[in-house]
């Protein structure tokens, strides 16, 4: 059976094609201001990657901030349920899963079957979401993908006072003027961000194993800061973490079918 999972997120729309619970194709497109076309294009990209035709698809499952726009979806799965299922699929020993999206941060406590026990969400404030790191990258005049690797070059701990992304931008500019090394600033940014995500995780309890999904999982600097703040050695990152919620949505539908 072929099931498609589409995650229409605030920044990217991700689609995965699953054949009998194995990933055979993926597609990712910037959501931009037209969710409908991003959904269509990411679906096309994923089908092409899988080498199949839209007629071969049995069912479609949708999730993400823009899930209502996925008109062909047979079901819509809420993000918390989708990420819990995905974490359990990739790491069966997972008990805590965190997802740092562009405009959202989540922490979910799950059981051995990937069922949601409890969860905490940060939304509508950029301080606790991927948008924070993006805004800081602009202030630092660095590429987003350079931000994480820079962290690993720094061994300094500079505290950041501002919580708000807007005020933090001014603080970063101040640090640049004070001739602080970019790597040290980047570490301060990631540490601040990670400490907010960790406080959210602490609300539901830190239970091993811990899995991180979402695109920020590809940022080695953030993962490093997260481990330090959590005081643990390992955070599991599935392959292609950005597609986590899309995979989870497809798996939830597969289970119900």
């Amino acid at each position: 059976m072929i099931i498609v999972g589409i995650d229409c997120g605030a920044k990217n729309t991700k689609t995965v094609v699953l054949r009998d619970n194995k990933i055979i194709g993926k597609g990712m497109i910037l959501t931009g201001f037209d969710q409908t076309s991003a959904i269509r294009e990411s679906l096309h990209a994923a089908l092409k990657d899988a080498g199949i035709d839209v007629k071969d698809v049995d069912k479609i499952s949708g999730t993400g901030a823009g899930m209502e726009e996925i008109r062909d979806a047979d079901v819509r799965v809420n993000e918390v349920k989708a990420m819990a299922k995905a974490a359990n699929f990739f790491v069966p020993s997972a008990r805590t899963v965190t997802d740092v999206g562009a405009e959202m941060g989540r922490a979910v406590k799950i059981d051995e079957n990937g069922k949601v026990i409890d969860f905490a969400i940060n939304e509508k404030c950029a301080a606790g979401a991927g948008a924070f790191i993006e805004a800081m990258a602009r202030a630092l005049e660095a590429k987003l993908e350079e931000m994480g690797p820079m962290v690993l070059k720094s061994d300094k701990s500079i505290p950041m006072n501002a919580q708000c992304a807007i005020f933090a931008e001014s603080e970063v500019v101040g640090l640049i003027h004070a001739k602080t090394a970019k790597a040290d600033i980047s570490k301060a940014i990631h540490d601040a961000m990670a400490s907010r995500i960790v406080s959210m995780i602490r609300r539901i309890g830190v239970n091993k194993d811990i899995v991180m999904i979402g695109g920020v999982g590809l940022n080695p600097g953030f993962v490093d800061s997260l481990k330090r703040e959590l005081e643990i050695d390992k955070v599991y990152i599935p392959p292609d973490p950005a597609f986590g919620a899309a995979v989870g949505a497809a798996l939830v539908l597969a289970e119900e079918t």
Partner: protein, 96 residues
């Protein structure tokens, strides 16, 4: 005086309210709080003519209350807050 320490951001309101008229600065909340957010001072910083001890929120914690108080506020089955429970005068309340 009703002192509201904390903030509002896009995600919600995070204020701790201290009724300074009821507070005698006993410091039990300071002992009870696992996040070290309370502090007893000798006079009210917002009323220079009141020269009796009272509790305030540590200044560099005021912008982080949502996070600092997180561990005492699990999303479900929330127990009574240690600071509120410790206070014999009913001085402290949380907005969230």
């Amino acid at each position: 005086m009703i002192a509201n320490y904390g903030y509002r951001d896009g995600s919600g309101d995070y204020f701790i309210t201290i009724d300074t008229d009821k507070c005698d600065g006993c410091g039990r909340c300071v002992q009870a709080c696992p996040g070290d957010i309370f502090q007893v001072v000798d006079e009210d910083p917002n009323d220079p003519f009141r020269e009796e001890p009272l509790v305030i929120i540590v200044s560099d914690k005021r912008k982080k209350l949502k996070y600092e108080c997180g561990p005492c506020k699990p999303p479900t089955n929330r127990p009574p807050l240690p600071c509120v429970k410790a206070c014999p005068q009913d001085v402290i309340s949380h907005s969230w």
